[in-house]
Symmetry: C2
Subunit: 244 residues, 2 copies
């Protein structure tokens, strides 16, 4: 299977996690045309204010959505893993109010808005599935807003670790499980609203408290209940299973 179709199948999995699609609709998703592009680490590949005409699917790696202050400080407003259509909202709001950067080397697949529009026209179910997926992203952001504004540094970092463990891991128990971790401490800071220096101290505290351990390019949850408690984490906002 080629990379494009593999990426699309990941996205399809994500969509069917939350919406029920017919065979035709699934096929239509998998047949979406587009272009692959390999982005080197820490490159901005969608700029602020740009008029966007294609949506970016993350095939592998990690993409961050961010805003920026006048003096260049960044704040992540989303982290998109493989299978996420990072940019889906640009279909209805093509003027990018927010930019995208790669975190580590990232392979993306750019799908023209026109193609997605075509699907929206053909199937109301798909239209709703796209809308719903965008709203899950918004719910995640809403949770970040809460956590970053109200929890201590330890809570914020722990929360991000919990979230990523849930999104990366496919539902295994978390304890002791190693997962790939492309985030540098600087990126962690951009996400949690902390300085890299303080992220470092906070990670040390989590390590010494026996909650979680980040080494090199992997993250390992040592004590899930403890980490979860520090983060006040409750995975329901991620909507990782279909509602009834």
């Amino acid at each position: 299977m080629n990379d494009a179709r593999y990426g699309l199948s990941l996205w399809l999995d994500r969509l069917t996690l939350r919406s029920t699609l017919t065979e035709d609709e699934r096929e239509a998703i998998l047949a979406l045309p587009g272009e692959l592009e390999l982005i080197r680490p820490n490159r901005d590949f969608v700029r602020l204010g740009e008029q966007v005409s294609r949506a970016c699917l993350v095939v592998s790696g990690l993409a961050g959505r961010f805003g920026q202050t006048r003096n260049g400080e960044r704040q992540m407003t989303a982290l998109h893993i493989a299978g996420d259509m990072a940019d889906l909202h640009s279909v209805v709001l093509p003027k990018a109010a927010t930019a995208l950067q790669s975190v580590g080397e990232t392979l993306i697949y750019r799908v023209p808005h026109a193609e997605i529009h075509k699907l929206v026209g053909q199937s109301r179910t798909l239209a709703e599935a796209f809308w719903r997926d965008c709203m899950v992203d918004a719910a995640v952001l809403s949770q970040w807003a809460l956590v970053n504004a109200r929890l201590s540094a330890k809570g914020r970092v722990a929360h991000l670790l919990c979230e990523m463990a849930c999104r990366f891991g496919k539902g295994q128990s978390h304890d002791g499980h190693e997962i790939d971790w492309p985030l540098t401490q600087t990126t962690l800071g951009d996400t949690t609203g902390l300085t890299p220096v303080h992220v470092n101290r906070t990670l040390r505290a989590l390590r010494e408290g026996g909650a979680a351990h980040i080494t090199g390019k992997t993250m390992r949850v040592i004590d899930w209940p403890r980490l979860r408690d520090i983060a006040e984490f409750d995975a329901r906002y991620l909507v990782l299973e279909k509602a009834d």
Copy 2:
């Protein structure tokens, strides 16, 4: 004109600001059935985790969407003014991941999801308009995440003043204009992630700096360029005019 239809017409104005609708579609919006409910100040009228079956349109007053930490601290993730469908996302995600409270006395109009679903089925343009409006809310939240994480207390408060001035005011020049201000300093703190005490000190600084003045139930922008500068404010994220 009765309150319900008036509220719907405000919402219609909001929608047509960003999407182009036909006469039939406009009429369909204005004909939406529902129930009016007057909410007393500081009441929660949608609770966390609740299974929602009707969306809440704010007819008058102000509604806040918020999340809550374990020890009860609140963080606003949206403030909805008259004409906002505060809850539109609940049509595709009926399990409330976030709660709603009134800020000051608020009149809401509850519209059954089924009715909105019917419109989505009838018109792809409306479906897209709803999706688009939800994405504008998300863009606002994204801006809040940036501001609350990266700006000083003064910047955060100033930013909220700017935003509200733009959303309340219908595009007049801002200087010296008085606008209704139902937000208490506590609510301001819940929104900006500050304690009420520090909000108070920050408002004093803004007043003494000749930027803006809040008295009793009104807010007055004294020096718009200065306020805008303190807040690093750029109204484009609000999408108050149709994109091209």
